[in-house]
Symmetry: D2
Subunit: 330 residues, 4 copies
């Protein structure tokens, strides 16, 4: 339910306005040196409150290691990392409780959990939960020696000039979405399986856990559907499996082929737009005009790259352990 992975496993917990969010990482091999400093750069990239277009909510996001690390190294047992929630303003949410915010999970959560869900700030649905993912991802990256994972924004609000896209949202006083591209280099050949444990299967599974993700494509992706086979096929040119082109995005038959792993994900515009919206008040049973309270990102895509990298690293660390690649690395 709220855990993922076979040999490198993450279990998340927490709520946006509860006392904390966090993660338990189970399966990290013993002997990996881990310090707060290893996590801080990625945690910093995930934070709002600094760049234009992100939420004004500021959290210290200081990782508190509670288990699994001894003398600065992983012990081989579960690593629990906690992040305190300090900067919460829950009163905004209680007031408008019966008006489900469009695009948010308010209504489905209310139906599914019978009103017992923690609705403050989106509760367990909040992107704040990705703090734990980013922490786990930073540890996974350390395991993946020789592998580089880099995600970047390639488009905001339909504009390749990212600044322009963001300005479009600011001018319209509306939220905007974007496209993230992720590239992984240095992977060995042979990770993944045909069918259910294909690299695409497991990566896409993980990517859709990131709030606001609406699509994923590998290599040439949707454009591949318009190509001829002779154009799309990547010809192998040397004994390392290097291909002339990389339409496949580094995965063939579900298995890494040693070329750059490449995928793109679509991020919808932030559901919490500054615009006035309509929604059904489930108490009055009348559709009302209202505006979303709370502090929000104008463009959630801005903070997504580091989360995409973390999610990717978690999946790849698991695949590396499964194919026994990591033992040698440590």
């Amino acid at each position: 339910m709220n855990s993922f992975g076979l040999l490198f496993k993450v279990q998340i917990f927490g709520e946006s306005h509860g006392s904390c969010v966090g993660v338990v990482i189970d399966g990290c091999p013993a002997g990996l040196s881990i310090a707060a400093e290893d996590l801080l750069p990625d945690l910093e990239r995930r934070k709002g409150g600094k760049q234009k277009g992100t939420t004004p909510r500021q959290e210290a996001d200081e990782p508190i290691f509670k288990s699994g690390i001894f003398n600065g190294e992983s012990t081989g047992f579960p690593i629990m990392i906690l992040f305190e929630n300090n900067n919460t303003r829950s009163e905004d949410y209680a007031k408008q409780r019966s008006i489900p915010r469009p695009g948010h999970a308010d209504w489905v959560a209310h139906q599914k959990f019978g009103g017992h869900e923690d609705y403050r700030g989106g509760g367990h649905f909040s992107a704040r939960l990705t703090t734990g993912l980013v922490a786990a991802g930073a540890i996974a990256k350390k395991l993946l020696k020789g592998v580089t994972i880099q995600a970047v924004i390639t488009e905001i609000a339909g504009e390749k000039d990212i600044e322009a896209g963001l300005q479009k949202g600011i001018d319209a006083k509306d939220s905007v979405g974007g496209i993230i591209e992720c590239r992984v280099n240095g992977l060995p050949v042979g990770l993944g399986e045909p069918y259910f444990d294909s690299i695409e299967s497991v990566l896409s599974h993980m990517m859709f856990t990131i709030p606001a993700v609406r699509g994923i494509e590998f290599g040439t992706g949707f454009d591949a559907a318009k190509m001829f086979g002779s154009e799309h096929n990547d010809a192998i040119e040397d004994m390392n499996g290097t291909t002339r082109t990389n339409h496949a995005g580094g995965v063939v038959g579900g298995i890494s082929n040693g070329n750059e792993l490449l995928f793109r994900i679509a991020i919808k515009p932030t559901s919490s737009t500054p615009k006035t919206q309509k929604s059904l008040n489930w108490e009055s049973e009348i559709v009302e005009e209202f505006s979303v309270k709370g502090r929000h990102d104008l463009c959630v895509a801005l903070r997504a790259p580091v989360i995409v990298e973390a999610a990717t690293a978690i999946v790849l660390a698991d695949f590396m352990l499964r194919s026994q690649e990591i033992k040698n690395v440590l």
Copy 2:
């Protein structure tokens, strides 16, 4: 590895040119009436050899029930279904073994399995394995009373006129890809979980197990990244959660919202194109010109809709069992 599902589980086995392919379905509730006739229409839709642009290989695809069914009904124990392979021509593959077909898994499989893989007709990587999925999907559909799942081709080779797209491939003597759209109606509110067990996560996981799938998007998908939040958000209009628009494609916060579930997948052009191609001969270590032998689909997307439906049904049956929706249905 080669199984999927939590409460409704499929385990596939077999190879393209081995003696058979098949599936074990574990977790089907007892008392569901199951006969070959329930599976035949979907199996027929999956078959090649009939429509223009599909492989000339013809298999009877007669399902042989080996366990789990007694007096025409499921017993609650594993249902094993076997399909014999009769119409195989393996000699084509042995001859060109050392020349990995571009776009196929030949090279990665050889690397990963050290030459022990069954390379004939793609072995375990072959789309022939989807026969078992279609059988399991037909059973899942029977469990999903009141739910309709319909996948259709919306585009071939970039053309909305499907015939025209196919003709493009025939004229160019090249393989082509396409787009499949899947719509599910009649789902209850509340299936799925935030994060790792979101409907999008599990569905996309399953969809990427279908050979040749390169992308998936839900609702408005990639186009959502170009929209403003006020445009994309679906306003709830009544106490059933019906929304005015359906940009979300029926899933919010990972959970079904009772509106139509909608997603699209991109299918790359068949890797086996009739065109002459280049690839490295791993014995001579020289790049050679060659042409793919064997019998193949010109457009694998043509046979994909029923596989997409089956994969969807398997995932949804599992979600329905998890949310205890199926008990009442039976």
Copy 3:
């Protein structure tokens, strides 16, 4: 690795002398009222420091709820519960590090984790980790309405008179073991599966996670091996499945039959005996005489019943969710 369960799942973390131990409970249905008071009686039973024959280490064992509970009720999301470690004396362990304590995991942990394990007080191997299990068990018990689980000590040091058995250890200045018997009443018919998910399989799996458990038997158990079939078979006498005898201990074919579920487990004498012992010093490579430092239970069986109950409740809550029995209970 350090998690267990299919639908009601526990993930443990922590070390004996780290900052805390705890548990994440995933899959608890929403709407269950949960307060510290619900956990305290069982936590109290687990504690040492009070009764004769238990460790003098005293911990407050105040459960700190960190997530998954809102307005006093479960939300349907992961419940994280933390217990701080305050009363630790780690210096005892560092001194004798290179002399593995017989019966303890010191040597295997050192081999398996290459010296990176947290060795203080047994680290992750410590029975202190069962605090999280007891907390999760208390919540599971609340879910299991109408079901009573009772574990008692039936034998200490071979004596049915428990006081006498304990005195035997005190007199001998040696540690002792015992037998725990657990009885569950009020279970519905039909929990469990034949083969891998039999009630005995899953319960025994869980019981052997409790430190010091060396054996388990159901119903008549090992004595059944001496009986004739006609003696051992339990004749069904009424339409509820009530049997005249209960040699089966309430499970037939892996499935609950509605009679009392009954099993016994053997607890070895505490590995940390006050006696002087011999062990290999892995630095000097010489067998040395030494005595175990630290504070320990003379008879770990004394604190085991509540842990056995908790472990049982966790397993049964999962089975009840799987057979959709709990929905109606809430």
Copy 4:
């Protein structure tokens, strides 16, 4: 449900009087040579019909390999093995359907599956399903190079002289049980985990899937509960971890310590005794006298050792893969 294992996984299927029983083995590394001859000796040991005290039902038990083997070697994909049922006499079962045989799963299956279960010969509950386990075990044994697994009967009907115990049953015209002891040598140090994935946890889980098993104990087991700690503790004597005694049975803290792995299991007397018994007829709702029809083992323990070995091998192969021990072996 009907599968087990993390990296070396078995999925069983079939019914006693259906067309076949069998197993899918998923996760067997590529390149292992596998032939019918590798399985036949263990399959032969499992068979009835030959030795005194076993069922007169004779099946050829010829393994039919359906997938995953190519040119006599494993391919790395699922290995499906089928065994046909030929020698069935189902009419015996239909006649007495409404009288649940004491000790059998007839009544619980009827309740759980609402009458849809295949009741002939015990259906899916039948020990005939262990044929697949024995096949999978034979393959697992081949993976476990340098490891020897040997299970023997140590007691029948309470007699250490096995012949005498069996004669006791024959004389009494009643079924009898027994004790099986299993010893494993050659295991590396470090398999298993503390808590949920302890060797004892996973092995006991597996052992209780074998029909008629009622108890399991490791090392000194239940007798350990009567010992002092100073007696029970095994002192390490050399740098390989060799212990002077082996009360622990080769597992400490859930982890293999390199000494002989030793456990015992209790097998109840065969439920199908030749004696006249009483049971409730669920149609007439009256307790009736009746005698069990069909062909049965007088002492099911006689055929158990090879099943215990197979079950052990399956579990250990998984542990070896998890600790990356097998890569080097192949």
